[in-house]
Amino acid sequence: MKFTAPILFFVFCFFAIGASDETRLLEGYVFDRKTQRAIGNVDIKLEDSAVGTTTDERGRFVLHLPEGVHRLSFFRVGYGLASREVRVSGGKLPILYVEMIVQEILLDTIDVVGRDAETRFEELHEATGVLSGDELQKKYSLTLAETMKNEIGVAIRSMGPAPARPVIRGLSGDRVQINIDGIETRDLSATSADHAVTVEPFNAERLEIIRGPRTLLYTASAIGGVINVVKQKIPEDHPQRVFGSVGAYGETVNRGYLSAVGITVPVGPLALYAETTYRNTRDVQTPIGRLANTPIDTRTHLLGLSYPTDRGYIGASFDQFDTQYGIPGGFIGGHPNGVDLDIDRRVFDGKAAYYFDREVFSSVEMDLTRTFYHHFEYESSGNIGSEFLFHDYSGDLKLFMNTQGQTRNTVLALGFGHHNLKLGAFVFTPPTRELSASLGVYHEFTYRHIEFQASARYTYADFDPRPRTKSIADLDVDRIFHAWSAAISPLVNITDRITGGLNLSRSQRVPTIEELYNDGPHLAAYTFEVGNVELEAETSLGFEVFFHYLQPGVDFVLSGYWNEFDTYIAPRNTGEINFAQLLPIYAADGVAARFLGLEMHLGWRLNTRLNLELDGSYVRGENKDEQVPLPEMPPLKFVGSTTYQHPYLTVGGTAEFVAGQERVDIFEDSTDGYAVFGIYAQRDINTDHTRHSIIISVDNLLDTEYRNHLSRIRSVMPETGRSLKVHYKMFFF
């Protein structure tokens, strides 16, 4: 009975959105005439109209056009303007293929480069927060965190290769939210260093880091940012033909491989997306030997089905992520032979959108997600040490509006969640039910040539642990939180080439179940974790200033930020040992804290073939209560890369320079600095309906022994040694 309401809603939407069929869908592809490579980010406009779109990394686009004769213009920096006449009438439209010609002179004469984004906010976002197309393929590694590790401000928290999770600006846990297609990935990766992120990035179209006021559309907790993995697992448009990709990946450092298939198929009026991947790796090799008990075995299956029309779409997907991996042992608190984990996560997503014809209301979108997650941690003897299970129901309703002459610039968002966490075996945290609800508003506007993004969000959370465990039996542990967050970001063109902006925010993050109620050993984390039922919401004030300099061939971003926390909640090593299981005790506590940071990005196009990039990031975290550094702070880091693009081959190299981290918490060890280098070569081969992309790369070229300051196991083993990687992907369309 509890599913009746959402089912009826979907059935209602399903029939409601099928009512209109006035326009037709045009699908097309844009290619470079000389190299026949697909061109992404091509601006496509319907002349004498505001209708337009851009191509994705496969050069694909879709447009809804009314019947009649239309002229489309195609614009991309570095290419001559192209236009095509399209006749839209009854019957199926043929796929449109467009070739564009490189026009190198333009690069030196135009004043504005890369103005593909609709607003300057999006332009800045594209410059520093997006990984897609060739860049994504080139940086792909076996985990989401490894794939994103050299993005600006990103570091990796790890405990062996499998449970790596991104840390942004020194902020970790659920201060960094991971979404797939805008919906939060519900797993336990934010709660402990040994828990894996349940996302396979191989078939992702795009990875993006969302910061600033837009994050409040998704959560109030992600002060570090929201990482959105774009897959379109529920297709929003109807494909005109079958397209997809087949891929494989291998690397020598762990004798690992991955195979993947993703396909989108039109089935009558429906659109079907299916994906499956299989990944297997063995123990990781480091420059000083093998890191035992680090194999990974992961299977993912995904099936999405939608009914897209001109008035919207309705769809659903089922997604299974099943992984087994090892956590190495041999360090203080660790088991000599390590611990094995087995995670099974199943997700049902339902999504629907309806596009209005009205002037004020643009569209309404709804998603409903049901997640089942079950996780075991085994000792080497096969005994179960810890068991975690939850059922999670969550949903969002978003109303997009057109105000002040702008399109979809105002969003009202209503969300709810029901999280039921159970713990078994040797974990003392009580089973806990969490109910949450939220109301958010987001608005973009322009005032006297200043662009603004503003948002606010209210979050209600109710925690109810049942049954109570011995340690909390006599305490009043039911907790209710009312959290308020708000952010505003003005952006202004200081000169024709320099854009400057601010980001001001006040955030309140509700503590997690684990931070409130943990009380016992956590086998694979090798810690005895103690929560704090007295914790209040983590409140912070944020201030950021940023500049973006853009001229032909040069793209430079500089930002500085300051986050002030009244109560920064972090599990800290107390220096004490639990003598029953011989584990170090980590206690959650809220302390006054300050984060100061700087980030920079420089992109320099020396000529049409040679690109240089340099990214840098630094964060300084301080526990103000005790006047000591915060634990697990990423050290100063610079990443340089160069790319040479020949029509038949792209080659490049990367260099990563990381300073030592001497600013450490009381029971934390310092880490030495390092420099590691990598090279790669990419060859694309295009045919009429396929594109083959092969990337061969070598990471840690000099087999340098180095250690990640955010790795729990850095005391026993360095990071991975030299590795040859081969990445192949065939796109068919």
Partner: protein, 163 residues
Amino acid sequence: MFFARKSLQRTFAAVAVLALFVIGCGSDDPMSEHEEHFEPEGLVLIDSGNRFFRYFEGQIDASGGRADHLEVPNGGLTAKWTIMFLDHDGDEIAPPDDPDDSFTWEIADATVVEVHQEPADVGKFEFQLRGLKAGETTIELQVAHDDHIDFRTIPIPVRVVDQ
């Protein structure tokens, strides 16, 4: 006809969506029981009333003439040793009487020594060691609760010596 075909397609789509929902909701695995646990902070080994070995809060206590390792005859058995546990204050407490609690161990090199228990004593907190060859290894003494470990010692040195 067209209308009928379209209705059929929509029905198919609705059924498919509902089928996905049902799949997503189904087959939730059962959870193992969450229980209170036995949490001592040490133990003593007793040989005929003699408390010859003491381990407390992560350390072997060799004071008062107690042993700092376990000695085992090569090819032979030790006496039957009984385990008593120590609470937070170091006071002796009896082994757990919960039938789900049992005595287990982990030997680093099982070719040097093995644990011997009479069939009637399996799971009880009494044991003997049998030396398999002269040498040294370690043994970790544990209290297992169902299929996980409630209590464990550090690896205790074991020496197998020729008689």
